[in-house]
């Protein structure tokens, strides 16, 4: 794995673009998410991307939380070090446990994800990387939390909402083949709860369009 010369015992995880360290904030357990330098990227571009994503992630986490969408609370931002200090959520990635869930609970969770995704979109927030890897599940409370907003945006474009739904559907198709249909149905039912019938239809039509674009015609 990658080594960052940090004290290993603090490392919660090393992702594709950031490392998560266990930290604390006034005695509360906290997570420090640090976007690390990517050697393959040109330096100017690299810093630009890390700064942008750190700021947008913090802003979106805060905005989502204000609208009642479950996300970790942001405690502090350090844009010079590309890091965010946030609430520690003692959960697991939904991706790792979907198949182990009883059907009823599975449907309830996907309904909630759909509902909160609808709330985000109603408030012109797009996640940008909506997948089962970016939803945490806390078993004891049967609660979910949305994380990883770094690719998101404040936007009311239909295209962006459509891409969110498309990405989520694809994460089901690629990682949870056996439950894709049920999970997506529950997701859409939840999504309908948060948005008008007309809007939902427009979003779903958009998803269809995105998935059928001329991107496979070729050599």
């Amino acid at each position: 794995m990658v080594s960052y010369g940090s004290k290993d015992d603090n490392i919660i995880s090393i992702g594709a673009e950031a490392i998560l360290l266990l930290d604390e904030w006034f005695g509360l357990p906290a997570v420090r998410k640090i976007r690390v330098r990517k050697k393959y990227r040109e330096t100017t571009l690299d810093e630009l991307i890390r700064r942008k994503r750190t700021l947008i992630e913090a802003r979106l986490l805060i905005a989502a939380h204000e609208k009642g969408v479950p996300t970790p609370i942001v405690y502090d931002i350090d844009k010079d070090h590309y890091s965010i200090l946030m609430e520690y959520i003692p959960g697991t990635k939904l991706r790792d446990i979907v198949e182990s869930l009883p059907v009823k609970l599975m449907e309830k969770i996907f309904f909630e994800i759909g509902y909160h995704s609808g709330i985000l979109h109603e408030n012109e927030i797009c996640h940008g990387d909506l997948t089962t890897s970016n939803v945490l599940f806390v078993r004891e409370r049967e609660a979910i939390f949305f994380i990883d907003f770094g690719l998101g945006a404040f936007t009311n474009r239909l295209e962006d909402a459509g891409v969110d739904v498309h990405l989520f559907l694809r994460s089901l198709e690629s990682a949870h083949t056996s439950v894709t249909k049920q999970a997506f149905k529950a997701f859409i039912n939840g999504y309908r709860r948060a948005r008008s019938q007309k809007t939902v239809k427009m979003v779903l039509d958009k998803v269809e369009e995105i998935r059928s674009r001329g991107r496979y015609t070729s050599r």
Binding site: V2, A16, Y40, T43, S212, R213, R215, T217, S218, R219
Partner: protein, 342 residues
């Protein structure tokens, strides 16, 4: 599925876009012939009908040259494979018609091959990778895929135009001709200053249309040297690909990374993928130049694997599929390949 260990020979035809290719390969991975001719438009991009006319014109010559190279007769061939998609309709029909004719004339099975799957299979074979995360980049396709549950599942892809198309259009508009990959890379190597361009990664998906527009606008404005624009352009494109490839490695946990398709020829891109491979301690390989672009050998080899696994089609059902996705194809031969590459 065929259980015997007999080595069979398949003739494969490629004609999805601008290349007419005929290859001969065996089910044990021997490439007996690989002859390809590509249409080069005098100006502009590929016009489907003009390309199709060119493909028809060169087809007999390519076919007989491949037979001559392999040193066999039609009677020794066990099946004829053809790329039925994805691709440009008029072009696909050229290869499909010839394949159907050969199948009927010599009474041998007709094998439908997905062009994207063939790019993956030839890479697995020649680079000896059994279960890689595949980055497939070309003029018409941009996708990151890996094998899971009987198919190559797509983990990321373009949301609009293909990366190779993006580069070719940029090259053409700034006067570098077609295809433009090498010329743009060369121009970029002389640039040094990064000028900001849209960097669009959405989850594991990519979008290139905005970058193309922005880069061309910068070029027309003339405020920056064209070398710096080209440098920023390719840096942005390849960094986006590298980022998505890295995500794919982390998500899938695959230990091998394989780059295939025409854009695999770019040294700059290869360097970026080498860097992430080192960071994650995975093996990185890039398909050899003769199998990077569209070619007949990859269709023949994939067809041989498919026929061994019992895949064939009736002539009257061998429709072309211009939008045939890689993840619509079952890969029953996936594990057969193991003994050939390990």
């Amino acid at each position: 599925m065929s259980v015997d260990n007999e080595e069979i020979i398949v003739l494969g035809i490629e004609s999805t876009a601008h290349t007419f290719g005929v290859g001969l390969a065996t089910s044990k991975g021997k490439i007996l012939a690989n002859v390809n001719e590509s249409y080069r438009p005098k100006e502009g991009g590929i016009h489907p009908r003009e390309s199709a006319e060119y493909l028809s014109a060169v087809a007999p010559k390519v076919l007989f040259k491949a037979m001559e190279d392999a040193g066999i007769t039609f009677r020794e061939i066990h099946g004829v494979a053809v790329a039925l998609g994805p691709g440009l309709g008029p072009c696909l029909r050229v290869g499909a018609s010839i394949a159907r004719a050969l199948s009927i004339k010599f009474k041998i099975p007709l094998i439908p091959v997905n062009h994207g799957v063939a790019h993956i299979e030839i890479g697995r074979l020649t680079e000896k990778m059994f279960d890689p995360l595949v980055v497939y980049l070309s003029g018409g396709n941009t996708l990151i895929a890996a094998f899971s549950q009987e198919r190559y599942r797509i983990f990321g892809e373009t949301l609009d135009i293909a990366i190779g198309n993006c580069i070719d259009v940029f090259a053409r508009e700034i006067g570098l001709g077609f295809p433009g990959g090498r010329a743009v890379d060369e121009l970029a190597s002389r640039g040094s200053r990064y000028v900001e361009l849209p960097y669009v990664v959405k989850g594991q998906d990519l979008s290139f249309a905005g970058i193309l527009t922005a880069a061309l606008r910068l070029f027309r404005e003339g405020r920056y040297p064209v070398e710096d624009i080209a440098y920023s352009f390719v840096e942005t494109l390849y960094s986006m690909v590298a980022e998505v490839a890295e995500r794919g490695l982390v998500h899938t946990g695959k230990r091998e990374l394989l780059l295939v398709g025409g854009v695999a020829r770019s040294p700059l891109l290869r360097k970026k993928l080498e860097t992430i491979s080192r960071d994650h301690n995975v093996k990185f390989r890039c398909v050899k130049p003769e199998f990077a672009g569209d070619n007949g050998a990859m269709i023949a080899y994939t067809g041989a694997l498919a026929l061994k696994a019992g895949v064939k089609t009736k002539v009257e059902e061998s429709y072309i599929k211009p939008r045939w996705r890689v993840d619509e194809v079952d890969i029953p031969w996936f594990h057969m390949v193991r003994k050939m590459i390990i």
